[in-house]
């Protein structure tokens, strides 16, 4: 009931006085009520629970936290080590192995 991946709003319409939308999950389209995200626009990504969109995903924030983790990685790299503190050459070899 509470698992959710974000979907993309591909259509917005009204039904029985409620703001509704069609949401695209990588090709599978489902309906959701958009009353709780009144400012949502076509193309926005949203998290839907039990037929209701609950938030509009903020791309900027998504990019920011991702960038922060990347930075962590880069800081370690500048010291020539991965986050285990091992020399980077080893780490890369290790990473290739696991890929």
């Amino acid at each position: 009931m509470c698992l959710a991946v974000p979907g993309k709003v591909v259509e917005i319409f009204e039904e029985n006085g409620l703001k509704m939308g069609h949401i695209d999950y990588a090709g599978a389209i489902s309906r959701a009520c958009l009353e709780y995200v009144p400012e949502i626009r076509l193309g926005d990504y949203t998290v839907v629970h039990a037929g209701f969109a609950l938030s509009i995903l903020d791309e900027e924030e998504a990019a920011k936290s991702f960038a922060a983790w990347r930075e962590l990685q880069a800081a370690a790299a500048r010291e020539g080590v991965d986050l285990f503190g091992r020399p980077l050459a080893d780490a890369d070899a290790d990473a290739d192995e696991q890929e």
Partner: protein, 361 residues
Amino acid sequence: MKHLDEYRDPALARKLLAEIAAVTTRPWVIMEICGGHTHAIIRHGIDLLLPRQLELVHGPGCPVCVTPVALIDQALALARRPEVIFTSFGDMLRVPGSRESLARIRARGGDIRTVYSPLEAVNLAVQNPAQEVVFFAVGFETTAPGNALAVQQAARLGLTNFSLLVSHVLVPPAIGALLAAPDNRIQAFLAPGHVCTVEGLQDYEAMAAAHQVPMVPAGFEPVDILAAILLLVRQLEEGRAQVENEYRRSVRPEGNPAARLAVEQVFQVCHRTWRGLGEIPASGLRLRPEFAAFDAQCKFALEETGEMESPQCISGAILRGESKPPQCPAFGKECTPEHPLGATMVSSEGACAAYRHANRQ
């Protein structure tokens, strides 16, 4: 989505794991309270990749798992009535009551329909004026806004044949009860990302301060979960207890005000019994008296029934984070997703089912 695939990047996940290993110096116990997190952790094998000193315990955050047998029995009583069309999310159908399940009643010809949204149940009431449509309103803070709007919509349409059987539960009081238990081992919480999306962070900030326990709301991708665990371990190691929001792309500090307002207009806080945990004060929602006409318990004068769970099932201990599914003697033997004995096996988000689906012993 741009920035979604990145949250599944295996190289970054490995780096985060490495950083977690680097900062962990002592054993810590972290609970993921949300069934969605449990599912993601087991599916990606995250618990197996963490340093040995870190223990993840699974919490009671699956509404299907914590709905008490007595309430399932009330649902069954309603579903047996000839004038009732009983509607529910699909995952409630196989939950065993004290004697049978909704699925069995449906197999015998009962009119039980699965819906994806409570608004579908409202539409059914419009289309079937001669029958009573009852919707089984279970769930946490994430499903309450939808159910609130369904009631408001039914009132607007003047429906007299629509009602909810309400079994809503709230996460923060359950966290409080777990922390207050005398044998509590939980030192930090991976907070529920979508519950916080609705409710915001206030309650979690109060809880972190009062119990000196770090809390990090997290998204549901592998990198989200690892990043949140790293934030938690850093806090634990440094002796801090704060709310740090890993899931900023969805969780705003104030939550979703429109959703919160609708919930407040339609529901009020009440005591609730949780399957496996017992009664927790102020841990549930029920319809406000002005919406009593939409309350199936009042409308059909439902009686409290006795409650009987399988004596073999240890799901109570699993929901409290005391035991893991493979420790149950029935796990994978008498109890499987096809023939569940307890609620934690019934729901695909339940800890027992998550272990079973991932083929974990």
